[in-house]
């Protein structure tokens, strides 16, 4: 028997035993193992205990980790490289609204990212896997279709070999914060919008660094481009109008010492020479030693408001001058009328070449100058009576052009640029002539070294965007006359005060300062507009806009003054005048001319005299303003019984309502005081013959 044969069954048996041992082991029937090395028996229960303990510890750690994950106020989320969820803590479930089991294994992006940002989120995830660990914020979609804003901090999960197998992220729900930030941004935006719209600029000054920061709005207020401000206090002062620097520095200095709020109003001198008014409010913080730390404030462009106020003051000033002028003009004109009249009488008896004759001529000259001044004052104060007619401005300017040459220097060229199809203007011819003359003389004065004056006319339609300094424009057709010079132009200051009475840029003694204010007054009284544009060193353009004549055009006739027939005048006149000097003068002039004159000092006497003389009175010559009943009322009463009675009014200045009163009676016979004998006689003759 070979040993092999004996051992084969033995081997089989041993194998069977080994198998049985393994089976027993697997079925938990084994208690201990004999360890040949240590020659000891080791209870499996101990090993199992150890294992169990190890497992327990692992479980405790795991539970503790899970508890940590679950109690964490943040979302814990792990994804594999494909974006499938491998871990989600309770906070994640709570915010997302899914259970852990519902989340695990699902595609995070399909399940929890809104479709519209899904592609972007996946791209961001790929960046993260590539090692870009920056904090990211994303919007997540909850089970109930809610949206939350989550800010993620991320790390990569690697296997033992260091290969990236997924991501681990903690997420903070910043929805409320995000909304607050959004709301804050909206609020900021709103404030910024409000400030910008209101043209309010903001500045702040750090006294530690000397840095002065300006908003773009302030930069714009000072005519700078965004970012154009230098950033130092001196840069600021350099932009302030030189005349206002001292006052501004003083205000700021006081504020820096006191720490009290301050307000400023100063002019900014823009790089293009424009001047703007800026109003500011600010506050400077001081430290405990009273040293300034920081200043903040706002700046507001109040140019328009300031100019409006200035204009309003200007208008008030002009109104006041006007009232004063009209107040004295009446009496003054009566005096001048009397002086001129009686001087005229005396001149008839005194040889012109004698000393008395020369003196009389001086008296007459002075009185005429006085009369001219009074008229200008009244024109400016819009108190004089205008007699508007239809005027062909092209014809008028053509006629006038002959008058310019002697007035203007040799080196001044006047060119006319009449517009075509210019309609008739509605204006007082004499006054319009004065306007054109004033503007031409003014233009000439602006060009001491010579130049060109262009007078143009045009038919213009004004809409309510027309920029008139003082008045809202009534839209419609206007006749425009412009006078342009190539002179020195005007400074802002001159432009602002241009129409102010007695304002003049000419040396004392030259010019009354009434030319342009008269022009202004006439244009305004004619319901027209006046616009000035001027570029320093390039010239000035005055544009006069007059209303179009709307009525039927009068038949063309010779507008030249009728030549008075040289013959004795006859007729009976009723002269009504409260001012004794004027009454006596008129009586004497008219008497000498051949009229029968009945004199009355008031409307009541006049009415009595009229009745006494029945139908023998050819003309009533009456003052408009008298104590008691005025001229127009007198004429109305007389016409009740004698509808055909003729009337000629004498008038100084008076109230603007009077022309319309008289106008309503259907005639407009006026004699402006002061007048001289020939004028009186001509007007009376016209009126009697009418």
């Amino acid at each position: 028997m070979s040993p092999d044969r004996r051992t084969r069954p033995e081997l089989i048996r041993q194998l069977q035993e080994a198998e049985a041992t393994i089976t027993a082991l697997l079925s938990g029937q084994i208690d201990a193992v004999v360890d040949p090395k240590s020659k000891s028996t080791v209870l499996l229960s101990r090993a199992q205990d150890a294992l169990r303990k190890s497992e327990d510890r692992y479980r405790r750690e795991r539970d503790s980790a899970q508890r940590y994950l679950d109690t964490a106020a943040v979302i814990m989320l792990a994804l594999d490289v494909n974006g499938r969820i491998t871990l989600a803590n309770r906070q994640a479930c709570s915010i997302l609204g899914w259970t852990v089991d519902e989340l695990l294994g699902r595609d995070w992006f399909e399940m929890c990212i809104p479709a519209d940002v899904r592609a972007a989120a996946r791209a961001s995830f790929r960046e993260l896997l590539a090692g870009d660990l920056r904090t990211r914020a994303s919007t997540v979609l909850t089970r109930t279709e809610g949206l939350r804003r989550i800010e993620w901090r991320n790390t990569l999960v690697r296997d033992d070999a260091g290969a990236v197998v997924g991501t681990f992220s903690s997420g903070t729900d910043v929805t409320e914060h995000h909304q607050t930030a959004l709301a804050l941004r909206v609020a900021n935006e709103r404030v910024r919008f409000a400030l910008e719209t209101a043209n309010v600029g903001i500045w702040d000054m750090d006294y530690g660094t000397g840095q002065l920061r300006w908003s773009e709005t302030i930069e714009a207020q000072y005519g700078l481009l965004p970012g154009g401000f230098g950033g130092r206090f001196d840069d600021f002062i350099a932009l302030v109008h030189p005349d206002d620097r001292e006052g501004l520095a003083e205000t700021l200095g006081t504020a820096m010492r006191s720490g009290a709020d301050f307000t400023t109003l100063h002019r900014a001198l823009l790089p293009d020479g424009e001047v703007r008014w800026l109003s500011g409010t600010g506050r400077i913080q001081l430290d405990e030693k009273g040293k300034p730390i920081r200043g903040v404030g706002i700046s507001l462009d109040v140019t328009d408001r300031h100019l409006t106020e200035e204009r309003s003051q200007q208008a008030q000033k002009m109104e006041a001058v006007g009232r004063l002028a009209s107040g004295i003009a009446h009496d003054f004109n009566n005096l001048l009328t009397v002086i001129l009249g009686f001087a005229d009488f005396m001149a008839e008896d005194v040889p012109a070449g004698s000393q008395h004759g020369k003196d009389l001529a001086e008296i007459t000259k002075a009185a005429r100058r006085g009369r001219s001044l009074t008229r200008q004052l009244l024109a400016f104060s819009r108190q004089q009576i205008l007699q508007p007619t239809a005027i062909e401005v092209n014809d008028l300017i053509a006629e006038m052009s002959g008058m310019f040459e002697p007035l203007l220097g040799e080196n001044i060229v006047v060119s006319l640029a009449p517009g075509s199809n210019v309609p008739s203007a509605r204006a007082d011819r004499g006054q319009l002539e004065q306007i054109v003359m004033n503007l031409v003389v003014n233009a000439s004065d602006a060009m001491p070294a010579g130049g060109r004056i262009t007078i143009a006319t045009a038919d213009v339609v004004l809409d309510d965007h027309f920029d008139d300094a003082d008045y809202a424009v009534v839209p419609g057709h206007y006749v425009m006359i412009s006078v342009t010079d190539t002179g020195a132009g005007m400074t802002q200051e001159t432009k602002r005060r241009l129409f102010e009475p007695f304002f003049t840029t000419k040396p004392p003694g030259e010019g009354t300062g009434l030319g342009l204010s008269t022009t202004y007054g006439i244009v305004k009284q004619s319901l027209g507009y006046l616009r000035v544009s001027s570029v320093l060193n390039h010239g000035t353009t005055f544009e006069v806009y007059l209303p179009r004549w709307e009525g039927p055009l009068p038949a063309a006739n010779d507008s030249g003054p009728a030549v008075a027939p040289v013959r004795a005048l006859t007729g009976t006149l009723l002269l009504v005048e409260d001012e004794e000097g004027v009454r006596k003068l008129c009586g004497r002039i008219l008497n000498r001319a051949g009229y029968q004159v009945l004199e009355a000092t008031n409307a009541y006497d006049a009415e009595r005299l009229f009745l006494e003389h029945g139908g023998s009175i050819d003309l009533v010559l009456t003052d408009i303003v008298m104590p008691g009943r005025g001229g127009p009322a007198l004429i109305r009463r007389l016409r009740r019984n004698a509808p055909d009675v003729k009337a000629l009014y004498m008038s100084g200045y008076t109230d603007q309502s009077i022309p319309s009163q008289v106008d309503s009676e259907g005639d407009l016979n006026f004699l402006h005081k002061p007048f001289e004998a020939p004028e009186l006689l001509e007007r009376v003759r016209e009126a009697v013959l009418k």
């Binding site: 041992t21 029937q29 084994i30 208690d31 201990a32 193992v33 004999v34 020659k39």
Partner: protein, 95 residues
Amino acid sequence: MSKVPAKAGLRLRLYVAGNAPNSLRAIENATAICTEHFAAKYDLEIIDLLVEPQRGLDDGIIVTPTLLKISPLPAHRIVGNLADRSRVLLALASK
């Protein structure tokens, strides 16, 4: 189960580890099987390897509980708590 005729000299050794649960059950089961099937004609030696580990080593025992049939030959080992009586009887009867 029918009674197996007692054979002279049935000698068994049961290796156990203290009073570990499977060891106690193996002692219980071995005693019951012997009493039941071999009447008094058996010799069952119980060896606690926690006390005498060397004896286990000597007999080539790897785990407890193990029942070793010494005689009659051939020797045979049964590993486990001996709860499967048919398997135990088959092993004891094997030749």
